[in-house]
């Protein structure tokens, strides 16, 4: 009855070797790791952009899409070659602290405040985001916040500050922090008919709008700038500086900028390239 069990060590070894072989099969490939935001991924931009870049250079781009806060954290730890996010102050701090080589503007779009069509706070059509938030707070209308330290969340908190409302102080009542990504937060807002701040690209692409619609847009403060940074090889020697820089150079080049401009969702341009180098 032991005969089969005596093969156990051999089978065990085989499984270990198989695991190593299978998982190392891709190790020889040329790639860079980019940490970026859920908004750019959920909008589908990378699916459009990256194949073009890889076709030109042969460099594969692996995108890890998380909130801006977490993306910066990953890059600080040296777990990325390039950082592509949307909160200028945090990005400049990242470079100033020596974690990044330099920051470049890439593109912009804007944030919008979405909300239920019944509009209990009567903010539809307003162009002053801060005043709209004051009205939402006064009406105690449900508001779904990312609450995850992402770029969108930081923007939202800045707007509450401008509005002079301590929304986080009443978190759990009408102000609800989901602690999750843009899409997940929109799902929540859609389910409980809450207002929410979202970037326009994610909103256009979002398929579960339910009863929500754009309520507030056009405020200069809703401007949403994306920046790109090479993680410092001085800080993290393993960073693939050459290939990472090649990606940044391409994104900022005329070809890269045109590729961004060409990306449309449902007929709408999702991002507007504005890299200084390309003369836009």
């Amino acid at each position: 009855m032991h005969r089969s069990l005596s093969r156990f060590p051999a089978v065990a070894l085989m499984i270990v070797v198989l695991a190593l072989v299978v998982t190392q099969a891709r190790a020889g490939e040329r790639f860079i790791t980019v940490t970026s935001t859920t908004s750019t991924q959920n909008s589908g931009l990378y699916g459009h952009l990256l194949p073009i870049f890889t076709g030109v250079t042969g460099i594969e781009v692996r995108v890890v899409a998380v909130g801006t806060g977490q993306a910066i954290r990953l890059a600080r730890q040296g777990d990325a070659d390039v950082l592509f996010v949307h909160h200028k102050a945090s990005e400049e701090k990242f470079v100033a602290e020596g974690f990044g080589v330099a920051r470049f503007d890439v593109m912009y779009n804007d944030f919008v405040i979405v909300g239920p069509k019944a509009d209990p706070a009567k903010v539809r059509g307003m162009t002053d985001a801060a005043k709209a938030l004051v009205k939402i707070a006064a009406a105690k209308a449900a508001f779904a916040s990312r609450g995850d330290n992402s770029g969108t969340n930081k923007k939202e908190l800045e707007l509450w500050k401008t509005a002079g409302v301590d929304a986080r102080g009443v978190s759990g009542s009408w102000y609800r922090e989901t602690g999750s990504g843009m899409g997940a937060t929109l799902n929540t807002a859609s389910a409980m008919n809450a207002y929410a701040l979202t970037d326009r690209a994610t909103w256009i692409k979002f398929a579960n709008k339910g009863d929500l619609a754009v309520m507030v847009e056009g405020d200069d403060r809703l401007y949403n700038q994306y920046g790109i940074i090479l993680v410092s090889p001085a800080k993290h020697p393993h960073v693939k500086a050459k290939d990472g820089q090649a990606f940044i150079d391409w994104i900022l080049s005329e070809d890269g900028q045109e590729a961004i401009a060409a990306y449309h969702i449902s007929g709408e341009q999702a991002f507007f390239p504005n890299a200084a180098r390309a003369g836009y």
Partner: protein, 234 residues
């Protein structure tokens, strides 16, 4: 209700159309989870049997700990493995973060306690039943270990399947250490999470249906193997 209809339509369209992206994701899911369960079995069976048969100080505490570890939260395991594999962590030089290897490591940590704890129970029960007989044959715990594992093999398949269930269903750990990178570390569960976040609930549910069908197929295959083997060797 329309979502459910759309989900089944989406699942059917994906499977019937041999969607290459879907095939890739399904392939990676199976690869990661099956290898993780394979490794966890290799570790968990002997460990579980040893804990069942040998008497040593702190054994009771170890038994309780093993049982408790069956409930390890995937997101915590993911975080620990992330901290270990991060470039700033102790194993950073290996460059394993955001690779299928990292996902396998995390799942081995999740699944091994399940297999070890269930094996411990199975072998201990058999030992109670056969101890006198084995001792009279001159077989102590060490000799009995392999004998009882072999004896309990059909029951132990269920332990391994419980481990597979955990591995194939969890999203918390593989999301953190894999990064859900398209064509590299995207598996069924992280793809479902992504589609939910895009608000495409029908597609997400469709992927869920495919995943459950896959799980059913793996379990059915294991059942058939067990039945056939039992008939021949039972």
């Amino acid at each position: 209700m329309t979502d459910f209809g759309a989900a089944f339509a989406a699942a059917f369209a994906m499977v019937a159309g041999f969607d290459p992206d879907l095939a890739e994701i399904v392939g990676l899911s199976l690869q990661v989870s099956l290898l993780a369960v394979g490794l966890a079995t290799v570790i968990g069976l002997p460990v579980g049997a040893a804990v069942a048969l040998f008497r040593f100080p702190g054994r009771t505490a170890l038994v309780v700990a093993l049982n408790a570890l069956m409930g390890l939260p995937p997101v915590v395991v993911g975080l620990i493995v992330y901290l270990l594999l991060s470039r700033a962590g102790p194993f950073g030089v290996l460059g394993l973060l955001f690779t299928p290897t990292a996902m396998i490591i995390a799942q081995v940590l999740l699944v091994t306690p399940i297999i070890a704890a269930l094996t411990r129970q199975v072998v201990e029960d058999l030992w109670v039943e056969y101890e006198d007989q084995m001792r009279s044959l001159g077989a102590g715990p060490a000799r009995a270990l392999t004998a009882l594992l072999w004896d309990g093999r059909f029951t132990l398949i269920t332990a391994v399947l419980a481990g597979f269930g955990r591995a194939s269903a969890e999203v918390g750990a593989v999301m953190i250490v894999g990064g859900n990178i398209d064509h590299v570390t995207r598996v069924m569960t992280t793809a479902i999470a992504l589609e939910v976040s895009k608000g495409d609930l029908a597609l997400a549910l469709g992927l869920g249906i495919v995943l459950m069908t896959l799980s059913l197929a793996v379990n059915a295959a294991a059942f058939l193997v067990k039945e056939t083997a039992q008939r021949h060797y039972g």
